[in-house]
Amino acid sequence: MKPAPFDYYAPTTVAEAVEKLAELGYAGKVLAGGQSLIPAMNFRMARPGALVDLGKIKELAYIKPQADGSVAIGTMTRDTAVEEDEFIRKNFPIVAETVSYIAHKQIRNRGSFGGAIAHADPAAQIPALAVLLDAKLKVLSTDGERWEDAVDFIIGPFMTTLEPQELLAEVVIPPLPANCGCSYQQVSRQKGGYAQAAAIAKVVMDGDKVKDAQVVLFSVGETPIRTEQPNKVLAGMVPSTELIESVAEYVGANECDPGTDLHGTEEYRRNLVKVLVRRALLDAIERAKK
């Protein structure tokens, strides 16, 4: 379990990094926290010709509250820093909560917030969170910068719109509206292990009625799945248990695509989606009312 030979570069500025990426083209690969890429290289499933390590670029690690209430997170901000940040815990509690489910502390100390999105593992928490919260992504290259919505950025399992010469530099999460509640629900075989199914819900209430209900699933398809049924059925309604149950039932049957693997059958995982969507919606509504 030793990687195939590769070249290694450790730029100290963003400018240097994008230049190096432009020079390397398809041979280059960005190394962020390395918690996914390095094991893949050790299994020789990934064989990049060269790594451009962002670890020494200080200007890529930050958490900056913006004037409009959004928060900008530098791509190299470690998961632990996000999880423990006071501003995030207060204004985006679902972000800290979701990040806490990523593997184990040692891995969160190394894993990076932006790296997880660029890696686009269908079983990863942060890409799903970025989709749910309508995150905007800043992408840099020697040609300048471009912005893209997280939901458009992720196009398949481990696939994004990122070109080889590009670098995901920043993630901006817009502010959560008033009367909003979120909930993270997952079932994994072990604490810190991959979810067999997971759902993150974001519900905005208007009095007794639901104003907006978003549920993103992950680990049950090729990308994070932004479901449609919850909002279709619940928006404008008083969310009864029966209604939520019917939504959950529908999502489990129609809006996910879990396969059968070593740890669970498709049928079991669809059942999990059903259970988790219900639990996430109920919990999010409860929190939104507080």
Binding site: K2, F43, V187, R189, K191, G192, L262, Y268, N271
Partner: protein, 782 residues
């Protein structure tokens, strides 16, 4: 009398060094000019080698040599059987097919070595693997234990008529008679899954040939240094003392590291001699999954015959035992299953048959539990099924059939892994059952707590299972105890320590006889240059066998010291006492001689000595029991289940265990905790899974789920019982495997009780939430 050390929870002598990283594991060995090995393993599970081309790989810069079976020439030969066939059992059939160090002509499992790359670094060696071309004409994969021995199955060893590796029948009394007298016969097909040893440290081997001295130094992660050394010497045509094998520290063993005569110890020393450079091979985790032996995997057709009142009249069990592609370890595992099937109960008629089957999978050799778990799983599940059919309580049916203390020693009539008839030495099995029942509050749980929880819609259940643990089998172990001129003591063994605490417990035994501080005793482990005799760490036998040898050797040294001191102090021996490193006159403590001075006097450098004098304050001793000592215990679990997600949680886990005299109760607790954790892993997390072509799907920790601390219950509630074994002077029994044995059976029993779905019965030893979900759905729709 000095204060005794045995039965005290002393802190471990070895821990300070381990905790600061100051010890030498095999991968710490780094010698000048050392070369590194990577092994090319077959990606095919079954087929004929058509082409094996290593020429491109040889050209890679930094590659020093590559060897295939062909390159080994006459040196290539299938390894010896490590455990002899069961000739003691009449009518037994056993087809010996020991391991091939490197596959020749044919590959028989995915992961079987086909070539060895030697390079200047491990990185380069792994790069070279990519350039080796292996073409195989594939043959049908044989993986199903029952279909494997049906006519028409592809033959794994083509010189045999079928894939049946062995057939061993043992019968006590008459099963036919039991059936004739029975009110009820309950039959079940039960499956036991396959698990890895999963030691934290993988396997490794380093060899260095000293051309001047003609000595081969080896370092290996082996559980059996002496047999491995002997195998190496035998292969190379060297005298045993020309090979020195060392392993001062090993990061866990759990069974698979007992194997020798494999690619590492056969081929690496040969390469080191050939290239005249030190050579290191160390497994990575993926290779450990693919290339290191593992265990369990049996299918049982089990029957129990009973009277209406729950009295057992007989048990019949026909098991299919997967031995993998070869059977180098004889029949140790399935024989353990046979001896442990009736476990704690009175079974007057018992029929048991092993059908050992070759498959295109990794070889099966013992993993902690080693066959015992399967036997106990079968018996406990049969009792649960019978209790259900009779409408009896699960504890009541056990009470009805459990052996009583008056029945010991009990000859079982079943020959075990040590090739002698099993004898249960002693114990109080009913007390262990009652203690667990009482601690966990079984009666109250069933009558008050559970009905209340059920009324609240909660699924919480309880399980109670018994087990025996055959331990401390022969043939023998030995040790030498020596007092040095500093008065400190060395205990020499060539045993192997994988973390069991021998550096402390062996010292505790010697300290009690010699009156020295435990910290002043240096235990030598894993060095065949310092001690020549012994067998190895398996079958929970170290403390009992080596410990007894140390005890007896220490007694001899004590006698020697007292004899010498008697002359020095001019006092009769019976007026002397040994304490605090001195021999002194009992009622005149100021009149003494130190052990160091006696050691000095025992080795005069001038003058004359009496005839027959033996120098040195030292003695050796050997110990081999007539048969093993049997530990036992009872497990209780309370499990809650989230019925929607089928996720269980262990709410309480109670264990009562009797391993005779616990030399260090803290270390015994550690063994029990570790065993329980492994048992929980087996029942709920771990699974070696092969696909339909014989590829191992769970070949990393991403897919092979290892139990974590966070998966464990908040605490293990342990009750100790102490019934000293009559077989050895300290009354010790083994304890290394106790925790693992009954855990799967108890887990399943508690799960069934928690869910309480009519007709839902778990007939396998490993369950995932997904599997449980389907059990529930199936039972509900039935």
């Amino acid at each position: 009398m000095a204060e005794k050390n045995v039965q005290k929870s002393l802190k471990r002598n070895e821990d300070p060094r381990l905790l600061v990283g100051k010890t030498t594991f095999i991968d710490d060995i780094d010698l000048p000019g050392m070369l590194h090995v990577a092994i090319k393993r077959s990606d095919y599970s079954h087929g004929r080698i058509v082409k094996l081309d290593v020429e491109e790989a040889r050209k890679l810069p930094g590659v020093v040599a590559i060897y295939t079976a062909e390159d080994l020439g006459d040196y290539w030969r299938p390894g010896p059987l490590q455990v002899p066939p069961p000739t003691a059992i009449k009518g037994s059939v056993f087809h010996a097919r020991p391991l091939e160090c490197i596959a020749k002509n044919k590959v028989r499992f995915s992961g079987e070595p086909v070539a060895v790359v030697v390079a200047e670094s491990r990185y380069i060696a792994e790069d070279a693997l990519d350039h080796i071309i292996l073409d195989v004409e594939t043959l049908d994969y044989v993986g199903d234990l029952e279909k494997a021995i049906e006519p028409g199955a592809a033959l794994i060893h083509e010189d045999l008529d079928s894939n049946l590796a062995a057939d061993v029948v043992q019968e006590v009394g008459s099963w036919e008679k039991a059936v004739a007298e029975a009110d009820l016969v309950v039959k079940r097909r039960l499956e036991v899954n396959r698990v890895a040893g999963g030691a934290m440290e993988n396997r490794g081997f380093v060899a260095q040939w000293d051309e001047n001295l003609q000595v081969l130094n080896c370092w290996a992660t082996t559980q059996g240094p002496i047999p491995m050394r002997n195998s190496i010497a035998n292969y190379l045509g060297l005298m045993e003392n020309q090979v020195r094998l060392m392993n001062p520290a090993i990061g866990g063993g759990f069974g698979p590291k007992i194997m020798s005569s494999q690619i590492d110890d056969v081929v690496i020393p040969w390469i080191a001699i050939k290239l005249k450079r030190p050579v290191k091979w160390f497994e990575d985790r993926r290779e450990n999954f693919l290339g290191t032996t593992s265990e369990r995997d049996q299918v049982h057709y089990a029957e129990i015959a009973l009277k209406k009142d729950g009295t057992i009249l007989g048990v019949k069990d026909v098991m299919y035992h997967n031995t993998g592609a070869y059977n180098p370890y004889g029949m140790t595992v399935p024989l353990n299953t046979q001896t442990h099937t009736v476990s704690n109960y009175r079974v007057p008629n018992f029929f048991t048959e092993i059908k050992m089957v070759f498959t295109n999978q990794m070889v099966v050799t013992p993993v902690r539990g080693a066959g015992r778990s399967q036997g106990v799983f079968v018996m406990e599940r049969l009792l649960d099924a019978a209790a259900k059919e009779l409408g009896m309580d699960v504890v009541e049916i056990r009470r009805k059939n459990i052996l009583s203390p008056e029945e010991f020693p009990l000859r079982t009539g079943v020959i075990g892994q040590d090739f002698v008839e099993g004898v249960l030495d002693n114990g109080n099995y009913p007390a262990a059952l009652e203690k667990t029942v009482e601690t966990i509050g079984y009666e109250k749980f069933k009558s008050e707590i559970q009905p209340k929880l059920r009324a609240e819609g909660k699924n919480v259940g309880i399980g109670i299972c018994m087990f025996t643990e055959g331990t401390a089998v022969g043939p023998y172990e030995g040790a030498k105890v020596m007092v040095g001129v500093t008065g400190k003591v060395t205990v020499f063994t060539a045993y192997s320590n994988q973390g069991q605490g021998h550096y402390t417990t062996f010292a505790q035994v010697a300290a009690d006889q010699l009156g020295v501080n435990v910290k002043d005793i240096n235990v030598v482990i894993g060095d065949t240059g310092q001690w020549q005799w012994g067998v190895g760490a398996f079958a929970s036998r170290g403390m009992t066998l080596v410990g007894t040898a140390i005890h007896n050797a220490s007694l001899k040294v004590r006698q020697k010291a007292l004899g010498l001191a008697s002359k020095v102090l001019n006092t009769p021996e019976d007026e002397l006492e040994m304490q605090d490193g001195v021999v002194r006159v009992a009622d005149m403590p100021e009149k003494f001689v130190t052990l160091g001075e006696l050691a000095q006097r025992s080795n005069p450098t001038r003058g004359t000595v009496e005839e027959g004098m033996e120098p040195g304050l030292e003695a050796a001793s050997y110990y081999g029991p007539p048969h093993g000592a049997t530990g036992y215990g009872c497990l209780g679990m309370i499990i809650s289940v989230d019925a929607e997600t089928a996720k269980p949680k262990i709410e309480r886990l109670v264990m009562t265990d009797d391993c005779g005299t616990p030399v260090n109760p803290m270390i015994v607790d550690g063994q029990l905790h570790g065993g329980l954790q492994m048992g929980i892993g087996e029942a709920f997390y771990e699974n070696l899974v092969y696909d339909d072509y014989g590829q191992l799907l769970s070949a990393s920790f991403m897919d092979y789920l290892f139990p974590q601390a966070s998966d464990m219950p908040d605490k293990f509630e342990i009750n100790h019982m102490v019934t000293p074994s009559p077989l050895n002077p300290l009354g010790i029994k083994g304890v290394g495997e106790a925790g693992v044995i009954a855990t799967p059976a108890c887990f399943m029993q508690a799960l069934e009780d928690a869910l309480n779905i009519k007709g839902m019965e778990i007939v396998e030893s490993s369950i995932s939430p997904s599997k449980l979900y389907h059990y529930m759905e199936k039972a509900k729709s039935a």
